[in-house]
Subunit: 197 residues, 2 copies
């Protein structure tokens, strides 16, 4: 059937999130068919990323420079730190364009189930950064999950010594969301946080 | 945000079947995080495939050798040819282990909508192979779609001059399939082709 080279490619592709064994096989076939058009560029893109992308020593973002473009940008507000779980969340915040300060990537959230403790997260560096004189606010932009909210409370406790105000993202009805399809928890949160129109 | 190197990787990953822009972003992040464990092996697997995989000049399969392992295997029945649309279908047939003859990959099916005509398929080579004295049967293992069945009829006409018997895969209830979830066409086909128990 397909040789060991193709089988190895399929196995590796299947480890990417969003691809199962069957779609990995389809992806491998597409790569073989579009050798010049897709396989070769993908290979060189992987080489580029492997050679150039570093983890920012300040915030944990991925970039070609360290400190990353956001940490190095003098136009960004150094007085506000936005704490996110993952680089994916940092990218989502940047796409939304809702924040002009700096970030701190935790690298996860506390989780008793997955065995993630405070020592597994980038917490000491966060405490040190939040204690700097320039920082006046820390925004905890963590997911509205049990683990995310547990982590937010833990961080809020840890930052009590630092002279910063701590805030979290608002909960409520997502834009374009219909009440009919929303869970009770979200409706309850939106009701409690209702605002004058 | 993410630099041009990462954006380029995301764009290329999004061209794989089964990955949209959002899952391509997640896949790129996973690759960056698991640099030694996933990115480097994937890069070398892509290099291996690009360097070693050829298209079999006889049947159209992908393999490290040309003719491919199936065409070169003297243990396989040279008297039966199984015509499939794509290499993926050839692999599926091999996984099922239902066939011990040789294959012919068409490279597509006739489609007025997609502008695929007979000249776009590997048809002349099929006619030549089917006309060889050794070949006694041609199995048209094409999809049970309008295009697949149109192509099967077209091929059957083209092969009339060759002295071969032509067959197609049986239609019916798939194994594990419940009647309740089946379309009317399949039930009708299964009813018409009913067999004594």
């Amino acid at each position: 059937m397909s040789g060991p080279e193709i089988e190895r490619l399929i196995k590796l592709l299947a480890r990417l999130p969003g691809l199962g064994p069957r779609s990995a096989r389809r992806a491998a076939l597409t790569l073989i068919k579009k050798r010049a058009d897709l396989l070769a560029p993908l290979r060189s893109a992987l080489t580029d990323v492997a050679d150039t992308i570093r983890t920012c020593g300040v915030c944990g973002n991925f970039d070609t420079q360290d400190p990353c473009a956001i940490c190095a940008d003098p136009g960004r507000d150094a007085s506000v730190l936005c704490v996110v779980q993952d680089v994916a969340d940092l990218w989502a915040m940047e796409r939304a364009g809702a924040f002009r300060g700096r970030y701190h990537v935790l690298g996860g959230v506390l989780s008793a189930l997955d065995g993630v403790g405070p020592e597994d997260l980038c917490l000491e560096a966060l405490v040190a950064r939040a204690s700097e004189a320039a920082v006046v606010e820390v925004i905890l932009a963590l997911g509205a999950t049990v683990d995310g909210q547990t982590t937010a409370h833990y961080i809020a406790n840890r930052l009590q010594a630092a002279d910063v105000s701590i805030s979290g993202l608002a909960h409520g009805v997502p834009m374009g969301g219909e009440l009919d399809y929303l869970d009770e928890g979200t409706i309850l949160a939106a009701m409690r946080a209702r605002r004058p129109v």
